[in-house]
Amino acid sequence: MNLLQDLLEQPTGDPDGWDAYGDEQQERVGFFTDTSVCIGCKACEVACKEWNLIPEDGRVWTGESYDHTSQLDANTWRHVAFVEQRKPLIGDGNGDGSTGLRWLMESDVCKHCTHAACLDVCPTGSLFRTEFGTVVVQQDICNGCGYCVPACPFGVLDKRHLEATTDPPPAFLGRKEDGRVWKCTLCYDRLKGGHEPACAKACPTKSIQFGPLEELRERADARLAKLEAENWNGAQLYGRDPDDGVGGFGAFFLLLDEPEVYGLPPDPVVTTRDLPEMWTNMLAAAGTLLAGVAALTFLGRRG
């Protein structure tokens, strides 16, 4: 009931469910992904796959600039977006005097939302809040109901459709595929061992900065101020504000264009924000159904 209370209150600070850790609670950590220094090397994508033993995600040439993995999904937990633009990086053309081009690159990842829809809606409790304030799928619990997939406002989670590598279901059920959902764990295993996440470790330019969230937010504010002073075009923080629709991202970004250009929703809202209202509404509908059917039945007896 704690959760419903939380929902009704719409708190903006701490991640839902985090306080349950009591003494074991750790400092909330996350990512500040600064796209203004991302060189699009995809080391993060590969490091993530290596560390987490993620299967290959298909070999499709998309023509979408240098991006051929296309999106976050069950088999891509870090994804680097590429957008070429006829726009200067800085001011009215300093970035590239002769062609006025810029090439935006952004390494996307699960946002580890303060109010995480995926976690809220998960019927099994497979998705849970860790002591670090992050959101993780427990692969031994997930039953592949798929509810978290459309619940995530960022389209992060997806079901893995591959032969199972571990824990195969009994054959009589006729399912061979993995069937569970997967996403970034913020390298929960590495955090537990006192290491930084694999993607951040691999990033050569510190585009992916890992650390205590509060510290990252301050760093991001300073960075935004610097880019503003240097007249960079389109610089903005995304998901930094604890007052946004998901209570602030645990992994937030500095972007150089509007979020949707990178495939991010411009105003994400945790779907469960409206849940109390939805439940109330449903109860009304249910009541009406009860009353209506009863009434119509009795009507018949009389008439």
Binding site: I39, E56, S65, Y66
Partner: protein
């Protein structure tokens, strides 16, 4: 890297990547550093964050350009024009660092009066021998200097050049380290400074803009930015890689940058230097301890047949009287002791007579021609994939198919091992597996994770790596393979009395082995490379300890010190944040002597004081009477700044206290290179071997000294410039890498995590070109040259610029990554099937960064239709060429005659005449 070698004394990057953070301006040119050296690029980003200007000059807008504060798009193959333009701008506007130029470079030196510049001979330097197709370099030397070859064998009729001069070519014949004639005022008309000024005078901003197809404003901005960020208080660095080297003028391009950096006073100083970004994990190591045919470890020259006779004249002609090359004999003898142990003695001339000799160019491309001619019996390919990675892949595959036997050692079955059953020529019917006589052995190699060893990285840093897992099954390390191969050969020859086997029998071939597979101990090899004193068995601490009397062993003199004190210095892994300065000397070990910035005495002024507080690095400590600073001083520790060598001084002793370039005979950086280069003492703009343009400067269109294969049917060339038929191949094509793949792709196309990141071969074209020929984004294109045709997915992007030329023409560039081949998880056509084999004369590097091509929409013809298609186009071009009656070029012509026939007026007899061009097509 003979360009850096001849300019500064050592053939390696002058600085290290971590130091780039101190730069006030970084020019990245001829490299796509962010994509190909992403980890080192963090220091460029760091500099940018600290306010440095980052300039990227590249035909394409790349991931590096995206990070730069300025990108200038230029025409591929026009770099010397651009850099020469910078030199001219600096000279014209008096923006050079006067004191540095005067004291630390050879600017004041007066040159022989017989020297004639290209500006006066329409594109040729004095000494051009049209018969031989090469230069006699006598007239290039310092005035008043006797002829003397150093670090080479000039005295014996063989000139040191290429890799042989890559490390410390010496001026030779200098008395106590000073050139005979100098003008400190830099005003003598024949002093280097004035020659330089005249040489680049025509490289005005307008000329640059026209030749490179950039804007005057952009160019001037680059010059101004560079100049504003150089001098006492500020420093600028250059980073380059193969965007510069892979041209028929590659070495001279780097020379141009060396000139600019000398004029600006940026060598040997923090935040300055020329960062040569090298390739494979240990490519620097593979020239230091070479896999090349013409040098031995530490850039010691491989004896030539012409110097067959005596050790004495070999030593004499390679010893410079002054500078560190004065100790040549110590390096040589110590190497022979490492090879042959007690078998090499003073009495038998350290076995000099038995050593194998080279007789001519035995580089890879030359060897392929020999294969095609049927002159090569067997071949070992290890750690290389020529069928995909070398220019003109088809010629390579056809050549390999003529061998008796071929050994391929690789971690995967690469195209060079499988071409005989799945190569493009099998598909086209040009090769039939059952008719190929070659017996091919594929030997699986252990990867770096499966063995101990060291890599010498791009900044001369030796870094040790340990085995993580045992190699699987039959996979074996290189060390294992060559050790046991040698062991078995020695075993077989044990009883041989043959003269020719003497040397092999004399080889020291004892290394401890371990584990079940009897893996040789890699550290034992490193110990031998470091060397020891024979009597005491003590490890040497550095090359000054080497002796010429056979009392020391050293496998590579420049690496001497890497096992100092019996400790594997290369295995040190103390991070910089646990050390005193960013220089982090306790992380691994750099040659020479663990120095990170070489020539760092130049970071202090002639008096030994830092040029400025902001840029202090190494300085003279008056109280201590020694050089000190953040790095290991690249100078004799106790040599005073005002030391003047006595008249009889030799070797290192002969270098004055104010001359930081201690490997050079005169202790200075060379703006002008009197010796050591094949194609001129100064860089000058030539067009690429294949380009759609004439040389705007001279009748001499391309580098006269470039190596071509005029008689080779397998290497036909496209008509160029306004030659009739050149319109069949009207576009400029350049090839390059992607972060997601590595070189010929054997290591990355087979890895799912990388394969999915760039899953298909593609070409990058500008929307205007797409419109012009009807290409659609996402569709297919066929790209063709006289050699072959390939297909690629089309990426229509503004990142590749069209070239607006002065004559109103718009010429388009086509960009091609070269990572694809027939095998692996993702397959595609190889860009190198399009390339030709004309080479830079100094280092025999192929010109894959600028040649010409045609392009049309759709997929290429399959099977036998493919060679037919290529031949038809070639025929088309040829018939146009034929239709315009061609006069043979007139050798020796000095003035430019515009030729109605379109003949290019090449003076080099080796340059393919139109006739030859026809027969070869």
């Amino acid at each position: 890297m003979p360009s850096l070698g001849t300019s500064f004394g050592r053939g390696g990057a002058t600085t290290f990547q971590q130091d780039l953070q101190n730069a006030d301006c970084i020019v990245i040119m001829g490299s796509n550093m962010a994509e190909n050296h992403p980890v080192g690029f963090q220091w460029v980003m760091e500099a940018r964050e600290r306010g440095a200007k980052v300039i990227h000059v590249d035909p394409r807008f790349t991931r590096t350009s995206a990070m730069a504060t300025k990108h200038v798009g230029i025409r591929a193959g026009s770099d010397i024009a651009f850099l020469g333009g910078i030199a001219n701008y600096i000279l014209e506007h008096d923006l050079y660092f006067r004191e540095y130029v005067e004291k630390y470079t050879n600017a004041p030196v007066i040159i022989d009066e017989r020297f004639v510049d290209t500006e006066d001979a329409d594109g040729l330097f004095s000494g051009w021998d049209p018969e031989a197709g090469r230069y006699d370099i006598e007239s290039w030397r310092y005035e008043g200097m006797e002829v003397h070859g150093a670090a080479g064998q000039r005295g014996e009729g063989f000139e040191p050049s290429g890799e042989q001069s890559g490390h410390g070519a010496a001026g030779g014949g200098l008395h106590h380290g000073e050139p005979p004639a100098e003008d400190p005022e830099l005003e003598h008309p024949r002093c280097v400074f004035q020659i330089l000024k005249r040489h680049f005078r025509r490289y005005t901003p307008e000329f640059v803009a026209e030749t490179c197809a950039c804007s005057v404003e952009d160019f001037v901005e680059v010059c101004e930015t560079l100049a504003a960020n150089s001098g006492r208080e500020r420093t600028s660095a250059f980073c380059y890689a193969v965007g510069w080297t892979q041209h028929t003028t590659g070495v001279q391009t780097i020379r141009s940058a060396a000139i600019v950096q000398q004029l600006l006073g940026n060598i040997g100083r923090p935040g300055g230097g020329i960062m040569a970004l090298r390739g494979h994990a240990s490519i620097q190591g593979s020239t230091d301890i070479p896999t090349l045919f013409n040098i031995l470890p530490g850039y010691l020259p491989m004896p030539h047949t012409l110097s067959y006779h005596k050790l004495k004249n070999f030593i004499d002609s390679n010893t410079s009287p002054t500078g560190w090359w004065g100790e040549f004999k110590s390096y040589w003898v110590s190497l022979m002791k490492a090879y042959f142990g007690e078998h090499a003695t003073e009495e038998n001339d350290w076995l000099f007579e038995e050593l194998p000799r080279i007789d001519s160019d035995n580089s890879a491309y030359f060897t392929v021609q020999q294969m095609l001619a049927g002159n090569v019996k067997g071949y070992i390919i290890a750690g290389e994939n020529p069928a995909v990675g070398h220019a003109n892949g088809k010629a390579h595959r056809l050549g390999l198919a003529k061998l008796d036997w071929l050994v391929v050692r690789d971690v995967v079955e690469i195209e060079s091992a499988s071409f005989w059953y799945d190569g493009p020529e099998v598909e086209s019917g040009e090769l039939k597996p059952e008719e190929i006589p070659t017996e091919i052995f594929f030997m699986p190699a252990a990867a770096h994770t499966e063995k101990d060893g060291s890599f010498t990285n791009t900044q001369r840093l030796l870094q040790w790596h340990w085995q993580a897992v045992e190699p699987k099954e039959d996979c074996r390390s290189e060390l294992w393979f060559y050790f046991h191969l040698g062991r078995l050969i020695k075993q077989r020859l044990e009883d041989s009395e043959e003269e020719r086997d003497k040397l092999i029998k004399a080889l020291r071939w004892e290394y401890p082995t371990h584990s079940g597979i009897r893996e040789p101990d890699a550290e034992a090899v490193l110990q031998e490379i470091n060397g020891w004193e024979i009597e005491s068995g003590k490890f040497l601490t550095g090359y000054p300890e080497l002796k010429d009397d056979g009392s020391t062993v050293c496998g590579c003199w420049i690496y001497c010190g890497c096992f100092k004190d019996g400790i594997n210095q290369t295995a040190r892994k103390k991070p910089h944040w646990e050390q005193d300065s960013y220089v982090a000397p306790e992380w691994a070990w750099a040659w020479p002597a663990n120095r990170r910035i070489i020539y760092n005495r130049a970071s202090a002024d002639p008096d030994g004081k830092p040029w400025s507080e902001r840029k202090r690095y190494v300085w003279w400590d008056e109280s201590d009477g020694s050089w000190t600073g953040l790095d290991v001083p690249d100078f004799k520790e106790d040599k005073e700044p005002h030391y003047v060598p006595p008249d009889d001084a030799e070797a290192e002793e002969a270098i004055a206290g104010g001359h930081p370039f201690i490997m050079q005979a005169d202790g200075r950086a060379w703006l002008y290179v009197p010796q050591g280069l094949e194609d001129g003492p100064l860089p000058t703009h030539y067009e690429p071997h294949e380009s759609p343009f004439d040389n705007p400067l001279y009748a001499q269109r391309a580098n006269p000294r470039r190596q071509q294969n005029k008689d080779l049917a397998e290497d036909p060339y496209n008509p160029v410039a306004d030659e009739p038929g050149s319109d069949v191949y009207p576009y400029v094509v350049t090839t390059y890498r992607l972060t997601e793949h590595h070189t010929a792709g054997g290591m990355t196309r087979s890895v799912p995590y990388l394969a999915e990141l760039q899953p298909a071969m593609f070409c990058e074209v500008h929307p205007d070109l797409a419109r012009e020929v009807g290409l659609e984004h996402g569709g297919w294109a066929t790209i063709y040259t006289s050699r072959s045709a390939i297909e690629a997915r089309v990426m229509v992007t503004d990142r590749v610029r069209p070239l607006q030329m002065k004559d109103g023409r718009t010429v388009h560039q086509v960009g091609l990554p070269y990572h694809w081949g027939k095998r692996g998880l993702i397959t595609g056509d190889s860009a190198n099937d399009l390339a030709h084999m004309a080479l830079d004369p100094n280092v025999h590097i192929q010109e894959v960064k600028a040649f010409t091509c045609g392009i049309r929409p759709g997929r290429r013809p399959r099977g036998p239709e493919l060679p037919k298609f290529v031949a038809e186009l070639r025929e088309q071009a040829r018939s146009r060429l034929e239709a315009s009656a061609v006069e043979p070029p007139t050798p020796g012509r000095t003035s430019r005659t515009p030729s109605a026939s379109g003949g290019r007026g090449e003076q080099d007899p080796r340059v393919e005449s139109e006739e030859a061009r026809k027969t070869s097509s």
